[in-house]
Symmetry: C2
Subunit: 216 residues, 2 copies
């Protein structure tokens, strides 16, 4: 059966998955970009996101980045990951952070309280806007993914919602050696052992510590 | 000038520095012992705490454990690190978790709301009980340490008190690949960057990720 996975989700030493005050200039919140040094260093990320042949191929960081793109048939994103617009959509102009050919290349289900027609992009990505909550989004994503897995992209609040309902099978987290001081804490108000999750693997590079958390 | 240092303080992936429900059977709280696998593995810890010649000498974990004992002239501990007794001391019977020859071998200042006469132990350790708060304890510890450093042993709440007043110069944290789910969070309600701290170094072993946090 297909799995529900979180991949390459990075938190700071003090537990924040994004910095505060996200806006159009700070898609990851203020300071949030510093979390992702390990990912930027990888060939997988450079190729998938920036269309570049830079970065290091192979090694701990690249191996983890690469596993995040394997066998993914659909994504689910919180609205703030799709863009900085809040409240009802004023118009159709915002089409995501990623330009006309986004990095996904599969259907992407965006959680929002405000309906919007699907956005068909280049390269196989279609953004679907789901207003009925995470379980409805997951049902649609599973359907779209067929036998492949569903990747939960984030943000923090979305991952917490899925964890609380034990809907995530596997979670790869990276812990970056930075302090953010404020923002959204991934583990706030949530007990992973209490929900039946355990750390089942870990590896470190000079840029991050990678851990695997699995529902047992 | 002598420094105020935290050394070998271990937190879980979800940010807890101790498990919940500390008592005489669980000095580190329930599950808290699982944090310290990296330390138990080291020759430094085995020799200092258990009087054993087991454990691995050298390597990342042992190097960090060893630095924690270098140039320390006095310690400061929260009362819960000294023992499970709460409230006024019912008698003088509780003499710490460590037997008659504790691991410190220097003066140790125990923070408490309840006065008690100093306890002179074997091997150079004397426990002094300080009721006037952390700044008074630090003044006495600095005095006792002479030109050497003062090590803050913990627990979580004590470290947070010292951090909030920017009294810590250097902090070595280990992050263990375990999830505790509840207990005391080291970074709860505290912004290290806001207080002028930054991560200035890190290294990983198979058992823990070690980070250095320094006041800038």
């Amino acid at each position: 059966m297909s799995k529900v996975r979180v991949e390459s989700f990075t938190i700071s030493l003090d537990g924040f998955g994004a910095g505060p005050n996200q806006d159009i200039d700070n898609p990851l919140g203020v300071g949030g970009t510093s979390l992702h040094g390990w990912a930027f260093s990888t060939r997988t990320f450079q190729r998938a996101v920036l269309g570049s042949e830079r970065g290091t191929a192979g090694g701990v960081d690249d191996d983890f980045a690469a596993r995040g793109f394997r066998n993914i048939g659909a994504w689910i994103l919180g609205r703030n990951m799709f863009g900085p617009v809040r409240g009802p959509w004023p118009d159709e102009r915002w089409r995501g952070w990623w330009g006309e050919n986004p990095v996904y290349h599969v259907p992407v289900f965006v959680l929002t309280h405000h309906a919007r027609a699907p956005l068909v992009m280049e390269g196989g990505t279609t953004f679907h806007f789901v207003t009925q909550g995470i379980e409805a989004a997951l049902a649609r994503a599973r359907d779209a993914a067929r036998e492949k897995d569903v990747r939960i992209g984030g943000g923090v609040d979305v991952i917490r919602q899925f964890l609380r309902r034990r809907l995530i099978d596997e979670m790869h987290l990276a812990i970056a050696p930075v302090l953010l001081g404020s923002g959204e804490r991934l583990f706030e108000g949530i007990s992973l052992p209490g929900l039946g999750y355990a750390c089942t693997g870990h590896a470190a590079s000079p840029l991050a510590t990678h851990v695997l958390i699995t529902r047992t």
